[in-house]
């Protein structure tokens, strides 16, 4: 007990704290009187329902004490509101960041190539069609031989062997036809690692295998492959250009 002021130290600290908070409240109240006053009343009402706070409430007739209590409760409620607002800020910032990430990722994804068309399965063709086409475009084939298939070398459903002799360049080809591209794979794999075909040049186009001897001129191999591509792939695959349009030769 302080004899000068007639208060205990505890009461004095409480009074000064209330005084400081009231000054703070007055400052805020002057800026935003309606909102602050409303907040104070609402907070005071809420706090009055808490037993420990209600017990410390002063009688109504003590106007200054009452105001101090209001200020105190307002301050406390403001602090609790601050803590309540903090998660909202975090959520807001997180939502903003997530939105930004989504926007950036979607921009990146949109810059990537996207499927725009549907591929139809490649139709299967036969050796007669191919040979007729090669003749129609003027490929100078010689020694055309139909070989019975399947046979010891190939599981193809048909086999044609032919040579080409044109402008001093020559070559020998074996054209194998299968029911599907998948069925051509086994023979292609075996040929790639089996003598003598491992030294041959091998091209798979749709359901055909085209083999050529090692001494076949590169220009001839390229020409036949281009014709086959034009006939078997290009009509169904717009992204594949060919240098030998139909009927050119």
């Amino acid at each position: 007990m302080n004899p000068t002021y007639g208060r205990s130290l505890k009461e004095e600290i409480k009074r000064r704290t209330a005084h400081r908070i009231r000054k703070d409240w007055d400052l805020r109240h002057a800026i935003d009187p309606f909102d602050r006053l409303e907040s104070v009343h609402a907070s005071a009402k809420r706090l009055s329902t808490i037993p420990c706070m209600a017990a410390t409430a002063r009688p109504i007739h003590q106007s200054r004490e009452q105001r101090d209590a209001e200020v105190l409760t307002s301050h406390l409620s403001q602090r609790s509101l601050d803590w309540m607002m903090r998660p909202r800020r975090i959520i807001l910032l997180a939502a903003t960041a997530i939105t930004a990430i989504c926007v950036v990722i979607s921009l990146i994804v949109r810059s990537q190539p996207l499927p725009q068309q549907k591929l139809v399965p490649l139709p299967t063709s036969d050796t007669n069609t191919v040979m007729s086409y090669l003749r129609s475009v003027g490929v100078p084939m010689t020694d055309v031989q139909m070989v019975a298939a399947p046979n010891a070398n190939w599981k193809a459903r048909s086999e044609v062997q032919f040579g080409i002799d044109s402008d001093g360049t020559a070559g020998f080809f074996v054209l194998l036809n299968y029911a599907s591209p998948d069925q051509a794979a086994l023979d292609a794999f075996k040929a790639a690692y089996r003598s003598p075909f491992q030294d041959w040049h091998l091209t798979q186009i749709a359901n055909f295998l085209l083999l050529s001897t090692p001494d076949t001129a590169q220009a001839l191999k390229t020409m036949i492959a281009s014709h086959l591509t034009h006939l078997l792939l290009a009509p169904y695959r717009a992204f594949i250009p060919t240098a030998t349009p139909a009927g050119k030769q």
Binding site: A94, V104, L114, K118, A185, F189, Q204, I205, Q218
Partner: protein, 165 residues
């Protein structure tokens, strides 16, 4: 004294918000950089998973087309061989393509590099044909799915069919 206390109080609260914002910004940046850097790797993993589940996918955008025509793992007992035979069409530069499976990325037997090669006679045809064994024909060595991937993000994936002689 009061002002000092109030200043500290407000500064502390403001600092928290700035910290949260900074943390979120850094996390966002890290995520974006990580996605960009590992994008192709992640894409490859998803492609392998999709292929393993039996899905076939081709990229069909002009200039970025990759189509797998045939994807097989072949075992030939008469030659003691096991290997992959993947053939397809593309309008990409074949040198930019990488072949992967659920077992390896761009490699074949013993980890030897196995690039995706163009057909010399047909630049729109690619081949990915790594050998898996030269000692035995064994389909258990076969992977489940194959992914052909371009550096620009185009991708084709297919399940691998197992074939024996």
């Amino acid at each position: 004294m009061d002002m000092t206390g109030k200043g500290l109080r407000y500064r502390s609260r403001g600092q928290g918000q700035v910290e949260y914002a900074l943390v979120l910004a850094v996390v966002s940046l890290v995520v974006i950089v990580a996605v960009t850097l590992v994008g192709l790797g992640a894409q490859r993993v998803y492609g392998v998973i999709a292929g393993s589940l039996g899905a076939k996918h081709d990229t069909l955008t002009q200039g970025h087309t990759i189509e797998i025509v045939s994807a097989q793992c072949i075992a030939v007992p008469s030659q003691n061989l096991t290997g992959l035979w993947v053939v397809g069409n593309t309008d990409e530069l074949v040198a930019n393509l990488t072949g992967s499976t659920n077992l390896a990325v761009g490699t074949g037997i013993g980890g030897a590099p196995s690039p995706v090669n163009p057909d010399p006679d047909n630049p729109n045809v690619f081949k990915f044909q790594p050998l898996l064994s030269q000692q035995k024909a064994d389909l258990t060595l076969c992977p489940i799915a194959v992914v052909i991937q371009a550096t620009d993000g185009a991708i084709a994936t297919a399940p691998i069919t197992r074939v024996t002689e």
